[in-house]
């Protein structure tokens, strides 16, 4: 009989295998419960998880360099930072074209700010150059215009650069302007023989149409476009053959005149605007930080830096973050232990007292909890400062002299005292709720079996309260590690936490990448500690009530 059943698949009444039917029923149950929690899950995902990841992702993002100066980044690939010499003319040419577009879009200063995190001085180099870059093509613009006044006219440029179909569409639009002007199109001929000019003029036309709501037929081109035209015509003297009509005449005339043009070095123009452009060191920084993603912020967060030759530690006088991480962990542990030492007896008392008294005591525990954090912190200032209440009392009672007033605030002591006080309820409440469930009969039983008070507490009561200690300790520790307002107000210089630096980089220095990297490291540190805690104590042993 038993043999027969083991070989047979159990089925339900309608002949389906029992296992499958069960699984289906369970799956349906699971789906239903998932549906129940779906609103909360979606809410948490959208309002909590997604923004956090978006913020943390900034710690590696670095598109700004390759997006703002794409041509320069490509041109720089050839250049070797090891030579110790600034790159050649072609890189500066690419930079000129990138720069004029960036300046018109007001993006060069953002790039300057970004690179200034890595190399001091780049911010003003970008800003200062931005004011002058529109003049860099002037020499060429003047010569083209001297050659033929027509080059001054926006319409001339459109004749040469725009595709015939666009010119027609634009004319049709101009006679009856409804909606926006048709999007500019470059002529195939220009694209073919005047690549640099097309590139830059295309960017110009797009800028004029999109950003300024104007027409390329009415706006004077940026002067570096003349420089681009000069460059193309020098490289390709027969450019005119690709064009027809008026454009061919213009380009032909220009191409013939170009070899006689007076030239200027773009490199010298840049160095003239700011001599730092001649420094290979600065170029090495630009090249090092050209990739779309960077480890630079994380390295900074670990007191290291990315150099062209690899990763190295920052100079001693700039190392701060590792030390702050260490201090944050250390102080948080001290605060957690102080909370435990102070909170355990109170929770014990709360659990042991008759309800009438314990409720009153509980209100006393909760009362500061309901008071504003800032008020409590400021109250500690009044109490702890050198001319404060505690010192005054000590001097009055003669315990210390007037000259020997204790320094209890604006240092680590201040942070530990104020934060222990603020976080104490988070220790007491879980402890209390666990102790409430410990039956007094165990201790009585232990005593009746001959244990003294201490043995009964230590061997019988205390082990049962450990889940409460675990919960309280985790709560207090995790809250403490991310605190920043209290340390900022009472911590002085020796009592501040890593979160103070994160707050500084978010709201003051605006280095969000570094702030995100520091935040990620802090998160990882907490998770690691959590895992370690789970291994040692076991997360099952945590009880909140």
């Amino acid at each position: 009989m038993s043999d027969a059943t083991s070989n047979q698949v159990l089925t339900t009444q309608d002949g389906k295998p029992l296992k499958a039917a069960l699984a289906r029923a369970l799956r349906r149950e699971k789906m239903r419960s998932l549906l129940l929690i779906a609103p909360l899950l979606i809410f948490v995902l959208i309002t909590f998880v997604a923004p956090i990841f978006d913020m943390l992702f900034r710690s590696v993002e670095n598109q700004i360099v390759s997006e703002t100066i794409p041509r320069t980044v490509v041109a720089l690939e050839e250049w070797d930072a090891e030579t110790g010499e600034a790159p050649g003319e072609d890189v500066y040419n690419a930079l000129l074209f990138d720069f004029i577009i960036a300046v018109e879009n007001k993006r060069h200063t953002q790039l300057g700010t970004r690179l200034n995190y890595e190399q001091t001085g780049l911010s003003s180099m970008f800003r200062r150059t931005g004011r002058r870059v529109d003049d860099f093509g002037e020499t060429y613009a003047d010569q083209f215009i001297d050659l033929n006044e027509a080059w001054k006219e926006p319409v001339t440029w459109v004749t040469v650069m725009a595709s015939p179909s666009w010119i027609e569409a634009q004319k049709a639009w101009a006679s009856n302007p409804t909606g926006p002007e048709p999007a500019f199109e470059l002529s195939p001929a220009a694209l073919d023989v005047l690549p640099a000019t097309s590139d830059l003029y295309g960017a110009f036309a797009q800028f004029v149409q999109v950003e300024e709501n104007d027409s390329p037929t009415e706006e004077d081109p940026w002067t570096p476009i003349y420089k681009a035209l000069y460059q193309d015509l020098s490289a390709n003297p027969n450019a005119a053959t690709a064009f027809s009509g008026e454009a061919a005449t213009l380009v032909g005339q220009a191409a013939a005149a170009v070899p006689a043009f007076e030239t200027v070095s773009v490199k010298e123009l840049f160095i003239d605007a700011d001599e730092d452009w001649g420094s290979a060191e600065n170029w090495a920084v630009i090249k090092t930080f050209a990739p779309t993603y960077t480890s630079g912020y994380f390295l900074s967060a670990a007191d290291a830096q990315l150099t062209p030759t690899g990763v190295e530690m920052k100079p001693d006088d700039e190392q701060i973050y590792l030390f702050l991480f260490y201090r944050t962990l250390l102080l948080s542990i001290i605060i957690t232990i102080s909370c435990l030492l102070l909170g355990y007896p109170i929770a014990f008392l709360l659990a042991a007292l008759p309800l009438r008294y314990s409720n009153l005591l509980l209100i006393l525990v909760l009362l500061p909890f309901w008071t504003s954090l800032l008020v409590r912190t400021s109250a500690w200032k009044v109490l702890l400062q050198q001319q404060g209440v505690i010192n005054d009392v000590l001097v009055w009672t003669g315990l210390i002299s007037d000259a020997g007033r204790l320094v209890m605030i604006n240092n680590q002591t201040g942070t530990i005292i104020a934060m222990t006080h603020i976080l104490l309820p988070f220790m007491i409440l879980p402890l209390y709720s666990v102790m409430k469930t410990i039956s007094p009969s165990y201790v009585r039983a232990a005593k009746s079996l001959g244990a003294n008070d201490w043995t009964a507490f230590w061997r019988v009561y205390f082990p049962q309260s450990i889940p409460g200690i675990g919960a309280g300790a985790i709560l207090v520790f995790i809250l403490a590690i991310g605190y920043y307002i209290t340390p900022e107000l009472v911590g002085g210089t020796s009592g501040i936490f890593i979160s103070n630096r994160i707050a500084f980089h978010i709201s003051s220095s605006l280095n969000w990448g570094l702030a995100a990297a520091l935040g990620t490291l802090l998160l990882v540190a907490v998770l690691l500690l959590f895992v370690a805690y789970d291994r040692i104590v076991g997360i099952d042993n945590v009880k909140l009530g």
Partner: protein, 366 residues
């Protein structure tokens, strides 16, 4: 029936009043006495003259740069006009978050016809910045310290002299200003300070000088801390904004005096966020034109001891609105106070802030 009519009439009235409700304009400032001075000097008079505009204050100037950046990224800038210090205005301009303006077009000319750009002169430190006031970061000291034996500090270097002037000092928890003062007192000439500070040796010199008083310094991060520390007797000398010290001395009558030597001038003013729709922009421009004209800036000095940014406003500065004392001698720009001043170099700090801040924090943590 009667009730129904009443309700209907009430509803109609409510609708009518919402229809006539004023256009809101969100103006961001610093809160406290400073915002009150702006409210009294020009926001309230403006609303009186333009009942269809309702100014809503937001006290977020402290973190304006970060918040504007976040708003801009979210594509929803809800602020119309923001009060910031000049260095923040430059940063906002750099980031493309503040609008570049033509000062002569947007701002009113002086009564004698001088153009706005000439009237404000050098104080227009950025194309996006509309200056309002000149303030200074300077020192206040307690005038009742027994240990000083009747002497009073009259030189910036007395701050660094623990022997003649023992006691705690309060300094701002950032390198700006402190590094300059340290170098000045280490014998560097005023015009060379930034050149020296650019070198590693210069930075070491400044830190070495600050090291000599480091153990006696309480570092502050909010402008209200020094006045409180001085009032409590926690510190005997402390740096803060001169307007805060004015309130401490003249309004709260504390035994504190001003040490004007080597005060560092700084500017505060408006910026207009980029990307405002045309109707809001027109409204903001109209308000700014009114709020920064010669008389309005002079009026502001009735409520707070900050100097008006227009040259033409200076002669119009009168008495304090409540205390009835002459305001001119309390202005940082008063010739008696401005015998020795230090000019803060915005461009230089824009470059070196990140670098020096890291060094300064590392130095503090040592």
């Amino acid at each position: 029936m009667k009730l129904k009519t009443a309700i209907l009439a009430g509803t109609a009235l409510a609708f009518a009043s919402t229809a006539a409700v004023a256009e809101d304009m969100t103006v961001v400032s610093w809160g406290g006495a400073y915002q009150a001075s702006q409210k009294n000097a020009y926001a309230d008079p403006y609303m009186e003259a333009n009942p269809d505009i309702n100014i809503i204050w937001d006290e977020s100037s402290n973190e304006a740069v970060a918040k504007l950046r976040a708003m801009n990224e979210a594509g929803n800038v809800t602020w119309d006009l923001v009060d910031v210090v000049a260095s923040d205005a430059m940063r906002l301009c750099d980031e493309g978050l503040a609008m570049e303006i033509d000062h002569d077009e947007v701002l009113a000319a002086a009564p004698d016809g001088t153009s706005a750009s000439d009237d404000f002169g050098d104080l227009i430190v950025s194309d996006c910045f509309i200056p309002q006031i000149v303030y200074s970061t300077t020192f206040g000291y307690r005038s009742d310290v027994e240990a000083w034996g009747g002497k009073e500090p009259d030189d910036i270097c007395d701050v660094f002299d623990l022997e003649a002037f023992p006691g705690k000092r309060s300094l701002e928890k950032r390198p700006i200003n402190n590094m300059e003062w340290a170098l000045l007192c280490d014998g560097v000439a005023k015009e060379d300070v930034y050149d020296v500070l650019e070198t590693d040796e210069g930075i070491d010199r400044a830190f070495a000088k600050l090291d000599s008083i480091k153990d006696s310094v309480v570092w502050w991060s909010a402008g209200a801390e020094t006045p409180q520390l001085l009032a409590d007797g926690e510190v005997v000398i402390g740096s803060t904004y001169n307007g805060r010290l004015f309130a401490l001395i003249e309004e709260q009558k504390q035994p504190v005096k001003m040490l004007w030597d080597a005060q560092v001038f700084d500017l505060d003013g408006w910026i207009i966020p980029t990307g405002l729709p045309d109707d809001r922009l027109a409204m903001v421009k109209d308000f700014v034109k009114f709020a920064t004209d010669t008389q309005r800036l002079a009026d502001q000095a009735k409520y707070i001891s900050y100097g008006p940014a227009r040259k033409s406003s200076a002669p119009l500065v009168g008495q304090h609105a409540d205390l009835g004392i002459d305001m001119a001698p309390h202005m940082p720009t008063d010739p008696e106070n401005a015998k020795n001043t230090f000019l803060y170099n915005y461009e230089w700090w824009a470059d070196y802030r990140d670098d020096l801040d890291a060094k300064f924090q590392a130095w503090l943590a040592q």
